[in-house]
């Protein structure tokens, strides 16, 4: 999910608009006995602080490999108790994946999350020897605010020096801002144009379009609020020439 460092459309003036969080176990420690308990607690804490989006949220739109019949059961539950089925899915992911991810649009919620993780969760990890790393993506000032609130200091920065090569073939910047929200690059340019066109024709709201674009991927770091704002702007522009 290196791409969270390459998200476009976030300006230096856009303080407190979004922070992505990734929790990750190093490959060398993945099978360490007990480490999944740290991931389970991370998953629970992430959900407790009301993310705007998170990994495999509303998984019912895609078929998850290897889940088999359990997916049907979870989908049945999801229709009745989505908050419960999302917790179960994250519990499963905490056991099977080395990373968990989500996005927060409320800086206070992000600060509270990091502060909570920096307390008991981190102490237990240190005591038990569970090296689960936490990474934040967003504006450096917002990251700093979280670190200061939790009494942490940043360890390593990843800076994007931008895009090189055949940049003349890329879509306009506003479309790119939507396309680059997916951690795995699975949002199609054609999909963005199609949804913007439906908004122009009054068949879809920007909020509904924002709900649509994250569905191809499982990474859960598409910021639905910012996506809806961008869709509104895109739809207010004249239809691009074919």
């Amino acid at each position: 999910m290196t791409h969270s460092s390459q998200r476009r459309g976030l300006e230096t003036t856009d303080r407190c608009k979004e922070l992505c969080i990734i929790g990750m176990i190093p490959k060398s420690q993945f099978n360490r006995r007990g480490i999944k308990s740290a991931m389970r607690r991370l998953a629970r804490t992430m959900l407790d602080h009301q993310p705007n989006n998170f990994i495999f949220r509303d998984f019912t739109e895609i078929t998850i490999p290897n889940l088999g019949a359990a997916q049907n059961l979870l989908e049945w539950l999801h229709k009745r108790r989505p908050e419960l089925s999302n917790r179960i899915i994250l519990w499963i992911l905490a056991h099977t994946r080395s990373g968990l991810s989500g996005v927060y649009t409320d800086l206070d919620a992000a600060k509270a999350l990091i502060t909570e993780l920096a307390g008991d969760w981190r102490s237990r990890n240190q005591q038990k020897g569970y090296p689960v790393s936490i990474v934040l993506s967003g504006l450096p000032e917002d990251v700093r605010a979280c670190c200061q609130a939790a009494g942490l200091t940043e360890h390593t920065f990843l800076h994007s020096l931008d895009v090189f090569g055949s940049v003349e073939e890329l879509p306009p910047e506003e479309e790119l801002a939507l396309i680059t929200m997916c951690g795995h690059g699975l949002i199609a340019a054609g999909r963005v144009r199609h949804l913007a066109e439906r908004i122009r024709k009054g068949k879809l709201t920007p909020e509904a379009a924002a709900e649509e674009i994250w569905k191809p991927c499982v990474c859960g770091i598409v910021n639905r609020e910012r996506a809806a704002e961008i869709f509104s702007r895109l739809a207010s522009q004249p239809e691009p020439e074919a």
Binding site: T2, Q6, S28, T156, L158, S160, A188, H194
Partner: protein, 246 residues
């Protein structure tokens, strides 16, 4: 029983030509002609977006029976495919994410992460070879845990195995570690690649924070360096845990 095609495809006996799948494809490889959709197998990167989605009510979109080297497309494009060399889902690597415990990029080093093909365009593996060759000319090789390393046949020259060069992927991540003193050399390499590479590529640099946790990008590259406003930051939660165990 007929054999399953070796790539993602549309079952024309089921397709009704509604076109709902067309805009899903990140590579724009699906078209509808004469009332039936089809997938351009050469452009398809096997990312799985169309097969995982439930856009097709008639289950006309069918996964292929992928064989080597076509499997490589899925490994570099589908986030639910697990790469056996890194044990990480998708094409990603740990890079900055676990640097507080793994010390992949140490003090005085720059981690260079080049992601070919993103955003939007995708990449042939021949473009990855262009990059590995360029860095090899300067004496830099991919680290052990990079997924592409196992596909290199000549590390000194940066040459990839020839059977994969025309395979297309959504993106391909290449990593190198350089000393901070080589910052100018890196910029010169990037300028050359900017002219030579036949797709887009993102460049990220990983640099350890100073003692107060502040970024050091300008200190290392000079005040003229351009970067986008967003950053990705390892906030040090796992710092010292592995050392304490030893």
């Amino acid at each position: 029983m007929s054999e399953r095609p070796g790539h993602c495809h549309i079952d024309s006996t089921r397709c009704v030509g509604c076109g709902l799948c067309v805009t899903l494809c990140p590579m724009n490889a699906i078209t509808v002609e004469d009332g039936t959709a089809s997938i351009d197998a050469d452009e398809c990167v096997e990312c799985g977006v169309c097969t995982r989605s439930r856009a097709c009510r008639y289950s006309a979109i069918q996964p292929g029976d992928l064989k080597w080297p076509r499997q490589l497309r899925a490994l570099f494009s589908n986030p639910l495919a697990k790469f056996k060399d890194t044990q990480i889902y998708g094409r990603g690597t740990e890079e900055t994410k676990t640097n507080d415990s793994q010390n992949i990029y140490g003090e005085g080093e720059i981690g260079v992460i080049i992601e070919l093909g993103r955003p939007v365009l995708g990449t042939r593996m021949a473009e990855a070879e262009r990059v590995t060759r360029k860095f090899a000319e300067h004496g830099y090789q991919l680290p052990e845990n990079n997924p592409v390393r196992s596909m290199i046949v000549d590390h000194d020259a940066g040459t990839l195995r020839p059977d994969i060069l025309q395979e297309k992927a959504l993106s391909c991540l290449l990593e190198f570690v350089m000393p901070e003193s080589a910052a100018e050399e890196l910029i010169a390499i990037l300028e050359e690649l900017d002219r030579e590479v036949q797709t887009v590529f993102n460049v990220c640099v990983a640099i350890r924070a100073d003692a107060q946790g502040r970024p050091r990008l300008q200190e290392v590259f000079g005040s003229d360096i351009h970067s986008i406003p967003s950053v990705k930051v390892n906030i040090g939660m796992a710092r010292g845990i592995i050392e304490a165990q030893k």
